[in-house]
Amino acid sequence: MSRQNVKPMTMDQGFELIDAAVTKLKRILEGKPEPAFGSHEYIENYTIVYNMCTQKPPDDLSQQLYDKYGGIFEDYDKHTMLPSIMEKHDEYMLRELSRMWDINKIMVRWLSHFFFYLDRYFITRRSLPSLTEVGMTCFRDHVYNNVHFNVKQVIIALIHKEREGQQIDSALLKNILDLFVQNGKGSMERYEDDFEKFFLQETASYYSRRSSSWILEDSCPEYMIKSEESLKKEKERVTHYLHSTTEPKLVEVVQTRLLVLVAKQLLEKESSGCSALLRDDKTDDLSRMYRLYHEIPKGLEPVAKAFRLHVTSEGNGLIKQAEDAATSGSVEEQVLVRKIIDLHDKYMAYVTDCFQNHTLFHKALKEAFEIFCNKKVAGSSSAELLATFCDNLFKKAGNDKSNDDSTIESTIDNVVKLLDYISDKDLFAEFYRKKQARRLLFGRFNDDHERSILTKLKGQFGGQFTSKMEGMVTDMQLAKDQQTGFEEHIKNGNTGKPKGVDFTVNVLTTGFWPSYKTSDLNLPLEMVNCIESFKAYYETKTKHRRLMWIYSLGICHLNGRFDPKPIELIVSTYQAAVLCAFNNTERLTYQELIEQLNLSHEDLVRVLHSLSCAKYKFLKKEPASKTISKTDSFEFNSKFTDKMRRIKVCIRLLCLFLQWMIAVEDVDKDRRYAIDASLVRIMKSRKVLPHQQLVSECVEQLSRMFKPDIKMIKKRIEDLISRDYLERDTENPNTFKYVA
């Protein structure tokens, strides 16, 4: 149709047509009986707008159309939509809102189609909001802004209902909340400020109330189950109708109320808290506890703390038990160490299983063990007890076949683990070494076991820790070879055969073994021959080595030719020397003995006591008192007899207490050297250092072996000052300088 002859449409004309279309649309949307728009109607409406826009000015009615469009929505929103929503309540309000929202969306769609031409030129030219935008903004301004408060109240009430166990219409809520989001026009502001904020507040007070009542009524496991359940439900809520961004905030609120604020009360519950669960092996509950607290930042700390306190108290309990059971000051270390090992296994299992190997729990376990493993038990240090434990373990291993190799191996592993917790490791090393020496020398050892523990100790604590001990074990090996060589040598008749006396020698390397005192004991002739014969043999093997004979550690097998029957006697060399003195004379006085044998008084008294006043009286003493005096005389007891054919009488030449004292003194001495060396090393590299730092660095350096006493460090520093290794800074006497 040609345009020239057509009169421009007036505004009134156009609007009338548009209104008609809008009314029709409204009727359709409101569900009233109305035929749908046909395609020609659609085109007509579009064309009306088109024409009105393309008319030559002043008949170009774009602006008016734009305003009209806006007006349509404003009108409908204010006068139809809003009232109809407001007159309803609760769920019905929500439904109505939802309905209106849908209607609005369709209306926007249709009308923007009709008014589309505006979008193409007018709007873009003038940079105005698009038709869709106008429609949505109207809704927001005139409907949403007026209803959201009440709507939010309804939603929250519904959620509360659902929490209390009732069913609600999730889909409806989802729609409404979606509506909130969309009314934010791209940002989450509306959702967050108009709904989420209140929702979270409400959630917080809800769970506060729950938590208060549960914590009083329920046991820890029950509470945890309820918490877990609640968290699960809340997460489901999110998937059902809340926006996904709410999830982390919601979880945090629930966790805080249910788990964080009551952590102390919960974990410390009398008969069902962390302690009780650990004690009663409730792995499921503990795992749940871990799961729940793991998600909370720093949430595991109170749990780890409870764990540590519990383990510490269990450990302390064992220590106390051992103290109480210790009769006459001697602790049953076998029992105690085994129990500690078991304790360790039990709680380590918790750490690896329930607590998923988390470092916090490893640390808690370590700290707990470090506390009670370093306590003294009835005056004995743990280092000593552990060494004694190992000694007994290896001594028994030879005898007791039921202790098979794999058990021994796993016990050794446990020992190494325990040693890690003990701070005075050097003390352990010293006691272990002394006991090892006795084991090796008296033939009660198993080479494999000895080497196995040393390898493991070396792996954990370094070669320096085990070098002496390894040296000792190697010595025994070499000694065996040496002995074979010696016997060969004798067989070949190279030296004077020691007259039918079987003689075994262990050659020890001095540096490795504990120091033993020698003595100038006068040996009986038979033994002297043995010594000489070995000396001669040894000369052929190596020159430039001096042999120091330690008779105090020797063992002799003697044939006791008693009248009733001969009995084999297994005695120490000292005892043998005394007995052999009676080979030539029936009777000897104390004085004669001491001159003949050249023993010290203490030694002789001890030996004579063991032979004449103890269980087996090989010698008769005159007078027959219980103690040895210098005026006594002795006679060979030819009448002696016993049902056994072989009797073993060995004596320790140094009482246990003295041995202990020597060990402790040696360790102290070594520590002084170690501290000195460490201080000098540190100062040499740092040149100038304040006192505090020097001390703390020194402690750290030495911590692998022992925990140095601060007072000792101070004393060593002063000693180094007097020996001109260090000096005080003249300006600041709290700082030390290295003296080159």
């Binding site: 304040p690 006192h691 505090q692 007072k711 101070k714 004393k715 520093i717 002063e718 000052i721 007097s722 005080r728 006497p733 709290n734 700082t735 030390f736």
Partner: protein
């Protein structure tokens, strides 16, 4: 002794006692220096000495010192002798080598006993000066100890402390000495000696500013413990 005035006779006696020289050489030296004692010493010592096996021939020893003291009209235990020794940088108590004695007198501008006597009150006042007291105190350690020893014998140390802290008050000095006799009974190291002054200077008698974590020598830490134990100070 012939035709000598009273004063000169005294001077001669003094000279002999102090230097251990023979009357003849003493007379010679004094005459040569116009009866000025200090110059006389100089003369005497600069003379080639007869070879003597006595290593102490060039020294003023204990006897000489006590004569000197009586001339000066002071007790030998008077602390002023310490100050004098300090000026002379003497190595050991009750001994002055020629260099020390002459050098010291020279530095002080003294050439007669009289002048020395006058200087004494000045020397006493020097002890009140904080810095000088510090130097004299630290000097005293090396001076008071036995030759060849590294540490100072306890009795000597206690004596020295009593002497020194009479000049500069330290309220805890008696407790310190009691403590040492009670609990320590060993010689005192140089470090402990030096640090004690520091302690007396910086830590107040109530021990409120005592830093247990500080670098105080072990003995001083023990002393503090002792004070708490004996309830001399509240913890």
């Amino acid at each position: 002794m012939h035709k000598l005035s009273r004063t000169n006779r005294d001077k001669l006696q003094q000279f002999v006692s102090i230097t251990g020289a023979s009357e003849k050489s003493a007379l010679q030296a004094l005459k040569a220096s116009d009866w000025q004692i200090e110059a006389a010493f100089d003369v005497f010592y600069s003379q080639p000495q007869p070879k003597s096996n006595d290593p102490y021939s060039d020294m003023i020893l204990a006897e000489g010192v006590s004569v000197l003291c009586s001339e000066l009209q002071v007790e030998p235990q008077d602390i002023v002798t310490l100050v004098l020794s300090w000026h002379m940088n003497a190595a050991t108590a009750c001994e002055f080598s020629k260099e020390e004695f002459c050098g010291g007198l020279l530095a002080l501008g003294i050439d007669s006993i009289g002048k020395l006597q006058e200087k004494l009150s000045f020397m006493r006042s020097e002890l009140k000066d904080e810095q000088k007291f510090y130097e004299i105190y630290n000097f005293a350690f090396g001076w008071a100890k036995e030759k060849g020893q590294k540490s100072l014998a306890l009795d000597t140390a206690i004596g020295m402390w009593q002497l020194l802290f009479a000049e500069r008050e330290w309220p805890l000095v008696n407790h310190w000495c009691d403590f040492l006799q009670d609990r320590h009974n060993k010689a005192i190291s140089k470090d402990t000696w030096a640090q004690l002054l520091e302690f007396a200077r910086t830590v107040n008698p109530m021990l409120s500013n005592y830093d247990a974590e500080g670098a105080w020598p072990y003995l001083i830490d023990e002393f503090v413990e002792y004070l708490y134990d004996k309830s001399v100070v509240e913890k």
